[in-house]
């Protein structure tokens, strides 16, 4: 290859694009929720089919401690507010499906579970920590975002959900 000024220019352009940091926009409350279309335990799970409902989308993985802690809470949410139109949808982000299945064998999940080994949905939801949860209102917009899970977060999340369930 001959080194000409033109090829050098091309090379430096390439270097600059490689160095440019990928921009990311946080998915905040008020933004329309990205759609999900993932395989579930039986059928495919999409957000579109849950339109008009309040959806609690939770991103979890089998190796994540706080995620395990949040499962009983999500079971409680589903049984308590399911009748009022809440759907708990837990998206698993394990690279290996077997890990997720093992976890689900140990920790019961009485809510909708979907699987995304690619992590593509987490990217679109701009997940910043594990677990992350997004409450999607009846209008299909993100109403609340919560990062991480601690036992003391229960009350805050629950009262926020009650509030969102109350808004048409």
């Amino acid at each position: 290859m001959k080194t000409t000024p033109r090829s050098l220019l091309r090379l430096s352009a390439l270097c600059l694009t490689m160095l440019a940091a990928p921009a990311s926009w946080a998915l905040d409350a008020g933004a329309p929720a990205p759609d999900l279309n993932l395989p579930g335990l039986k059928d495919a799970v999409t957000l579109a089919q849950l339109k008009g409902k309040v959806v609690y989308v939770d991103f979890w993985a089998s190796w994540c401690g706080p995620c395990k802690q949040s499962f009983p809470f999500m079971n409680e949410l589903q049984s308590k507010y399911g009748a009022q139109g809440l759907t708990v949808l837990a998206v698993n982000l394990d690279a290996k499906r077997a890990d997720a299945d093992k976890f689900l064998g140990e920790v019961p999940a009485q809510f909708t579970v979907a699987f995304d080994a690619t992590g593509d949905s987490a990217k679109r939801f701009d997940v910043k920590g594990m677990p992350s949860s997004y409450v999607i209102g009846r209008d299909g917009k993100v109403a609340a975002v919560h990062k991480g899970f601690r036992e003391q977060d229960r009350k805050d999340i629950e009262s926020r959900i009650v509030e969102i369930l109350g808004t048409p």
Binding site: L8, A21, A61, W63, G119, M130
Partner: protein
Amino acid sequence: MSTAPDQPLVAGSTVPPTRRALSRLGLALIAAAGLGGCAMSPPQPWEKGNLARPEMTMGGDALDQRFVQHIYGSKEAASGGYGVGGGGCGCN
């Protein structure tokens, strides 16, 4: 085995100096881009499954580690940063 005495010893010496400078600059740019590549894609929060495994932490014995961390926490008024177990937001 013998070499002709009139041939230059270093093959690169026949390259004109400007082109040599340009190719050096090109190499430097490639190296710089390589450095950038390291910092480009840190693992995403959901890609830390392997990092969260117990064998990825410093030290072997969980009880001993806990003891050490307890002392460290009380002396330094700081904790966390020992392995990955989810949270990802400083909430352990």
